[in-house]
Amino acid sequence: MNLLELKVGEPRLIKDFSQNQSVYFKLLSLGILPGDEIEIMGKAPFGGPISIKHGSQTFLALRRSEAKQIEVES
């Protein structure tokens, strides 16, 4: 399943990224690697970006289309 399918507040481990290079590249640069724990903190209304927690200390936001490209363990 992908990250977007997760509910708010359910931590999961990242399995893999899709092959969209620019998204993959950016996530890697921010230090988000397969095997890391990730959790959705909130979803903006009207299909806006989602905010996520990576590990226990860092927070970031990305668009839903980008979240779809992150595979998580089910």
Binding site: Q21, S22, V23, Y24, F25, K26, L27, L28, S29, L30, G31, L33, M41, G42, K43, A44, P45, F46, G47, G48, P49, S51, K53, S56, Q57, T58, F59, L60, A61, L62, R63, E66
Partner: protein, 658 residues
């Protein structure tokens, strides 16, 4: 006599790691710092303050933040370029990679990538945000053992620049840096450089190779930090709690709107009383000088020219300082990145990236830093569309004009029970500018700058309590810059306006048997400025303006505040009524010499306001546009489209209201 040895240090690190904060602490500099990524987009140079006591003269170079050495936007390319230039200019002796304790692993992987380019003997790691001194000597030694790089941990928040200063002085500066290895680069990333890097400095790699390189550095970094403890997550917990509200699907938008309405409301109503004090004081000085100076040209120059012109603008100092104070508090808190999240969908509807919210936000202070901040947008078409619309955002130079006209001509009443009509008009003008920016951006993105949107993956920094001191400092600096402008360009222009509107003297035959008020009005009309104003009058008549306002508009194309100072001088000269001391009273009292009716009405005031919302009246902005876009073409297009919008808008409002 101390021996003068010079050494230069490059500051590199993650965005929002605190590079500019350290730069300011050590050099006494005033680089803008905030709590979000991408505030620094250019190179800053500075001498360390303790140089005056030491033989070793240290220089610091502050660079935009990067996540790795493969640029994905223009500001990141600035930093990588500085590294590539090391061989040509031999300008650096050491590189300091500033690591962010809150994201140590990711920022250390950047540090390791830098190490492989400059070598470990030329490199130092400084871990910032170790606010509670959790990293002990053992852990630092561990990092040094595993990376070969000397490591220090500190906290810019505790303001202990001394620790870093002393540390930098203990290093040896024996040799200049030479690049040890070529920098891996993708074809895509090469596009962000101003000049294409030479091929002996870089090696082109495929995207897959680059990804695995970055991955490798992260794994390496994870190994190094095996025994280093993560910071306590109290701050992260607080951030989570606040974000539950701020990024909530239901409250998020409402919180966003209330914060911005509060700012403009506060700006309008709270700074008002202070402004009236300044106004009374300046009026008093004018009156005093009129009393003690003999009547004549010199008195007129000082009282009407200088006090009327410069004084008219000075009145707005409290508002300018208050605006920057409030913006600083908001920026320091960490909310701005959340605002970008809340607005991404809306911005996306207009063809812009949510990241464009940050340059737009800077535009509320001044378009110039806003235009430069657009360097953080990776998609070139989105970037140009953003740059072309930033000057529509209401900047602080429009503030005096808005407050003067709204405060004088919009009747004060309560609307819908809670809103103040004047504060609401004020908020409306800010809203109108921003809405126009978005609509124009949409038009541009549908026509000349079509294409996909860049990615929107953005850091959300931990919230921090804004420092009042830093906000005061920011307000003070901006206030000082405003005073400097008043004392130089505005003063000079006020004198020029006074001269042009006093000479040549009117033919004495025309003045025989006229009242004092008629004499003043005829003298003005016969002056050089009067002749100029009369020439432009036919153009501005349809939008309800007379020749005096025309003169104000003409000079405002230099800088918007000049409108207020020009009005100040012109109406002081035309004024013979002893009672009115402030520009506001003079505007109300201004009568048409022929019909005897007041010149200003609500329609005229709104016509002027609307013109200021749209028109690009700022030579400084034009210069920066030329620099950032590389030619005069786009700046001239912007000047034309904004001017046209201003004129049409004014015409519609004037026709409708009168």
């Amino acid at each position: 006599m101390l021996k003068q040895v010079e050494a230069t240090i490059l500051l590199i690190g993650f965005p929002n790691a605190g590079k500019s904060t350290f730069f300011n602490i050590l050099t006494g500099g005033t680089r803008k710092v905030s709590n979000y990524s991408g505030v620094t987009v250019d190179v800053g140079h500075g001498d360390i303050e303790s140089n005056k006591n030491e033989g070793l003269q240290l220089k610091l170079i502050d660079l935009p933040g990067v996540y790795n050495l493969i640029p994905t936007s223009y500001d990141e390319a600035v930093t990588v370029q500085s590294l590539l230039d090391l061989n040509d200019y031999h300008q650096a002796d050491k590189v300091v990679v500033l690591l962010d304790y809150q994201r140590l692993e990711a920022s250390l992987s950047l540090g390791l990538a830098v190490r492989d380019v400059v070598g470990d003997e030329n490199l130092v790691f400084v871990i910032n945000k170790d606010d509670e001194s959790e990293i002990n000597a053992e852990m630092r030694e561990e990092i040094k053992q595993r990376t070969g790089v000397q490591t220090l941990s500190t906290s810019a928040l505790q303001n202990n620049g001394k620790v870093l200063d002393d540390f930098l002085r203990t290093l040896s500066y024996a040799n200049k840096i030479d690049l040890k290895n070529k920098l891996p680069m993708t074809e895509e990333s090469v596009k962000y450089f101003r000049k294409t890097p030479e091929l002996d400095r870089i090696s082109l790699k495929s995207d897959t190779e680059i990804s695995s390189t970055i991955n490798w550095y992260h794994d390496k970094s994870r190994d190094v930090l095996e025994k280093v403890i993560a910071p306590k997550n109290t701050k992260a917990k607080i951030t989570e709690k606040i974000d539950r509200f701020v990024l909530n699907p239901f409250f998020g938008g409402a919180i966003f709107l209330s914060i911005f309405y509060m700012i403009f409301h506060a700006l309008y109503t709270w700074a008002g009383p202070v402004m009236e004090l300044v106004e009374t004081a300046i009026g008093g000085v004018g009156e005093l000088l009129t009393g003690i100076m003999p009547e004549g040209l010199l008195q007129s120059l000082i009282v009407d020219g200088v006090i009327g012109g410069v004084g008219g603008v000075l009145v707005f100092l409290p508002q300018i300082m208050f605006l920057f104070f409030l913006l600083s508090l908001l920026e320091q808190s960490g909310y701005i990145a959340r605002a970008a999240v809340v607005t991404d969908k809306l911005m996306g509807y207009f063809g812009l990236n949510g990241k464009a919210f940050l340059p737009y936000m800077s535009g509320f202070a001044c378009a110039i830093p806003g235009i430069m901040a657009a360097r953080t947008l990776s998609n070139p078409r989105e970037r140009v569309a953003t740059i072309m619309t930033i000057p529509l955002i209401t900047c602080s130079a429009r503030l005096p004009v808005y407050i003067l006209l709204i405060g004088t001509f919009v009747p004060k009443q309560t609307v819908l029970g809670i809103f103040d009509s004047q504060a609401l008009s004020f908020f409306f003008l800010y809203f109108l500018g921003s809405a126009a920016a978005l609509v124009i951006a949409k038009v541009l993105r549908l026509s000349f700058f079509k294409g996909e949107s860049g990615n929107f993956i953005i850091d959300l920094p931990l919230y921090q309590r804004p420092s009042l001191k830093a906000a005061f400092m920011q307000a003070w600096r901006k206030g000082k810059a405003f005073l400097k402008k008043a004392g130089t360009i505005i003063l000079a222009l006020s004198i020029v306006i006074w001269v042009l509107s006093t000479f040549p003297k009117a033919n004495p035959d025309l003045l025989v048997g006229k009242t004092e008020a008629q004499v003043a009005s005829i003298s003005l009309e016969q002056s050089m400025l009067g002749t100029m104003g009369r020439t432009v009058e036919p153009v501005i008549k349809p939008i309800g303006m007379d020749w005096k306002m025309g003169v104000g508009l003409l000079v405002s194309f230099g800088a918007r505040e000049l409108f207020v100072s020009a009005m100040g001088t012109l109406y002081a000269l035309g004024d013979v009524d002893e009672e009115s001391e402030s520009l506001r009273q003079r505007l109300i009292n201004e009568k048409d010499p022929v019909t005897g009716k007041p010149v200003y009405s609500l329609a005229v005031a709104w016509s002027l306001l609307i013109f200021f919302v749209f028109a690009l009246q700022c030579t400084g902005t034009m210069g920066v546009l030329r620099k950032e876009l590389g030619s005069w073409k786009v700046p001239l297009i912007m000047f034309t489209y904004m001017g046209t919008l201003g004129y049409l808008g004014s015409w519609i409002v004037y026709t409708y209201l009168s």
